[in-house]
Structure formats: C-alpha cells, structure tokens
C-alpha cells in the first residue's frame, strides 16, 4: 500500500556544489554553511505540512546556480 509521500528531505550533490552559498541565504533554517562556504544540510525528514520550510527549500533549490540541490519526497519514518 503506497501512501502519498508526506515528508521531504533537502539534499545536495557535493560534486556539483561550488559553494556559492545562495542556499544558506534563501533557506537559513535548513542550510548552514561551513567555514569554507559549503552548505551543511542535516538530511532529516521534514513533514510536508511545514509549509514554510518546504517553501524555503524550494527557494533554495531554484536559487542554486549549480542546480546541486534537490528535494526528495519520501514517506515518513512510520
């Protein structure tokens, strides 16, 4: 029985990423940057119901000049 995915994860492809840092500016609540300017993303499942987070994740994905970010939709842990 497939449920509709109700969680999402923001992921970065570390090879594509060049450390522009736009994602940190667009989604500071999801993305921190390290001392070299590369994003630290805690890849934890976030419920899609948190609309504000999903919205800023979308902003980050669209704002990435290298198109290195992606939102993966999955089912929740249980």
């Amino acid at each position: 029985m497939n449920r509709k995915p109700d969680h999402f994860v923001l992921r970065v492809d570390p090879i594509l990423c060049d450390g522009f840092g736009h994602c940190h500016e667009l989604a500071p609540e999801l993305v921190q940057v390290d001392e070299w300017g590369y994003p630290i993303i805690h890849e934890e499942l976030t419920p899609t119901s948190e609309v504000a987070l999903l919205k800023s994740a979308r902003l980050a994905v669209r704002g990435c000049p290298r198109q290195a970010l992606r939102i993966e939709r999955t089912n929740g842990p249980a």
Partner: protein, 423 residues
C-alpha cells in the same frame, strides 16, 4: 582434494604466478555450478576491499537486474600505499582470482569481466596478461578484458573505477542511494575486490561449510593482511579472521610491544598497543574504534610520535583528494594544517585542538565518496589513542621522536612539495 588449513588463497605460492595447469593441480576443478548462490550466502563471505559488505547481497542485487549485458569488474587497484595483498595474490595465484570472477559472472549472467590493475604495477599487469592469454587459448569462459587505470588513492573506489571504465576519469561519483547498482556503459556492473574473487573461487570448489571452518561465526574464513612498519620485513600473511593480533604480529616478525597499530589502511583507525589480545575481526575491533578494513596493519613502535605519523598520512590523503567536493578539498588540508600546527608551532594549542575536533565533526559524511570520512576517522582515532602524547605537545614538552628522521608509516613522496594544493 581439499585444502585443510592455511594457506587457502595463497596455496601453492612459490614466488611466481602459477600457470593454468599448475593452478588446476593445486585447487582442482570447480564443481558447484548453480548451487554457488546458496553457498555464497551460507558462507557469509564479506568483501575484502575495505567496506566489508556481504558479497552474497551484492551478487543478489546484480542477479535481479534485468538485461543480458552485465559485467563483472575485478578491483585490484590497491590504492592503499601500505597494502600489498592484491598484488601478492595476483603475482602467485592469478587464476584463482580470475576463476572467482568467472563464477561470479556465470552467477549473475555476465558475459564480460573487466580486470582493473593499476598501471604502476607493471609486473602485476604482465602476470595478469599472461594468465588471460592462457585462458584465451583454452577458449572457455567469459570474455576477459584487462584495464590499467593510473594509480591514485581514490581510483580504487568502486564508483571511481566504473567512472574510469566509462569516461577515463578516476573520480568518484555521487550516489545518494545505497546500495545502488553501478553501470559500465548501460550494463549493470558487479565490482568485486580481487581477494574476494579468490575466496569465491574457493567456495565454488569446497563449499560454505569448508569456508566456515576458519574464522568466527560473523566473520568467517581467512583473509590476507599486509603487515608493515616496525617489522623484520614487510609481509603479507594469510590468517584466519579472529586470530589474536599478537599472534599475527609474531608471525610477521613485528615489534611484540608496539605503541600502536594502524588498522585498515590510511582511511582506517589507530589501535592502541594495549589491545594486542583483541581478535582480528570487525566484531572485536569495532568496539575499540578500529576495523579490518583493507587488511592492513602498520606497526608503530614505542618512542615514535603518533601525531607526527598521523600528520604525514593526513597530508598525503588531503593531496590525494579528487577535489570534487568542497568539504574534502578544503577540509582535509585544513585538518593537515591543524595537525602540523599542533606538532610544530602551536601558539594556541588548546584552540587548535578544539578547532580540529570541530572540523572533524563538520567534514564527516559530506563528500560524494567515503574519502573524507576515512581521514576523519583516522584523525579522531589518533586524538583518542594518542591523547596523552598530544597533551604533552599541547603543553609544549619536547617530543623526542621529532628529532629523529625515522618514520614508520610509509607515505609515498609527494612529487613536488610545492604541489600541495592548498599552499
């Protein structure tokens, strides 16, 4: 004919590669055929390349892939500069490795086997080439192709190897889902370490029960260990998994009371010399923070400076990064620089130590491959194992080991010191 005790994969080793006929006399001819899949699972064989992933799971993943054009990739790159096991194996029993690859190919339905040996080891390339010619004259089995990628640390990583086969680039690839199936061209590829292939070759002859006669229930079988450092002479031994470290060191003619052991390779971990009674297998070494890894033990004697050894390794590893991912390209040089500062000119040693720990936590898990994670594991284990000695450095005590030029962990010379990327 059954091989009763050790050596197993090194049977018949005589300092030169066995010919196909000698190989068949030593090991007999395989019998199992289609039953191999079940036997592999029952044998519990773990990959010997470093990650220790169950071979039967890997094979099953590939068996359930669609398509007729699958390939088996034999990984004999041996990126670890202190590891010699795959080279030793290929220079005495090349046909056993090729046998294993052939059986694996039959099992998953592959028609092609790509054998990858680093072009640095021209002698090994010759041995393999000769063995392949012998098989070609027989005219049976899948098609074997020999590849000689350039040698570098990350080139032996499986996605980097497949990248080489596809695009002639030895760069790891980003694979968010694990385990996933790599593809050579459009063909699903089974990437197996050379030593693992040899074990598959033996399991196909003698079965899982025979395989489990040696080793522990969760890490069965025998394994090859390269022992270097403070030893009489560097050796590759075949030991049963679960052998106490002390007897491995004795067999290798090593310093019986070392300061510490580097286990697993450059991306491995330090193990304090107090733990010599531990068994050589992942379930015993894991709780101590170490592991079997790629079958490497480097013996560092008392009086050496663990921090200095770690620094040299980390510096080299930082330079070997393929510099695709920021955390690895910038983070590893930063770790090396922190270690150098701790060693030589610490103005604020406490601050440097804190920063080093923070950086380790920040870097881990953020590369496309496991290269940065390995270095972080090494640094963290050094901070743990050599804590007392590092404390002396922090408080400015002189370190006797720094006044000598004797070093124990072999690190290849950087071609030009000025080639260090971050300087």
């Amino acid at each position: 004919m059954t091989i009763v005790a050790l050596p197993r994969v090194m049977s018949g080793a005589s300092g030169r590669p066995l010919t196909l006929r000698e190989h068949e006399v030593t090991f007999g001819i395989a019998t199992l055929g289609a039953a191999l899949a079940g036997e592999l699972e029952a044998s519990g064989l773990m990959g010997r390349g470093g990650a220790g992933f169950a071979t039967s799971k890997k094979v099953d993943l590939l068996r359930h892939q669609r398509g007729h054009h699958k390939v088996v990739v034999v990984n004999a790159m041996e990126g670890e500069p202190v590891g010699h096991k795959d080279r030793t194996l290929l220079s005495s029993n090349p046909h056993l490795v090729l046998d294993g690859a052939q059986y694996a190919a039959n099992l998953i339905g592959a028609r092609r086997v790509e054998v990858c040996v680093s072009r640095k080891d021209s002698a090994i390339v010759n041995h393999v080439q000769r063995a392949l010619h012998e098989r070609e004259r027989r005219g049976t089995g899948p098609e074997f192709i020999l590849h000689t990628p350039p040698w570098r640390y990350v080139a032996g990583e499986e996605s980097a190897l497949v990248h080489w086969l596809n695009d002639n680039e030895t760069m790891p690839q980003y694979r968010p889902q694990r385990p996933n199936v790599l593809h050579v061209g459009r063909s699903p590829a089974l990437v197996v370490n050379a030593e693992t292939c040899a074990h598959v070759g033996l399991i196909n002859r003698f079965g899982a029960l025979w395989f489990r006669e040696l080793g522990t229930p969760s890490s069965p079988g025998s394994t090859l260990v390269s022992v270097t450092g403070a030893v009489h002479r560097p050796t590759v031994l075949e030991v049963a998994l679960g052998t106490p470290l002390r007897s491995i060191l004795r067999a290798a003619g090593a310093d019986p009371e070392p300061l510490a052991l580097l286990t697993g390779g450059y991306g491995g971990a330090w193990l304090s010399g107090e733990h010599l009674d531990a068994a050589y297998c992942n379930e015993a070494l894991g709780p101590l923070g170490a592991g079997v890894g790629a079958g490497i033990l480097v013996v560092v004697p008392k009086g050496a400076c663990g921090l200095a050894e770690t620094h040299r390794v980390v510096k080299w590893m930082a330079n070997e990064s393929s510099r695709q991912c920021g955390p690895c390209a910038f983070g590893l040089p930063a770790l090396a620089e922190d270690l150098r500062t701790l060693l030589h000119d610490a103005r604020d040693p406490h601050g440097v130590l804190v920063r080093l720990k923070e950086r380790c936590a920040v870097i881990e898990g953020r590369g496309a491959c496991r290269h940065p994670d390995g270095v972080v594991r090494l640094v963290e284990s050094a901070l743990r194992v050599f804590a007392g000695h590092i404390d002396e450095h922090v408080h400015g005590f002189p370190c006797a080991a720094l006044t000598t030029t004797r070093r124990w962990v072999t690190v290849p010379a950087l071609e030009h010191e000025s080639d260090l990327v971050w300087e």
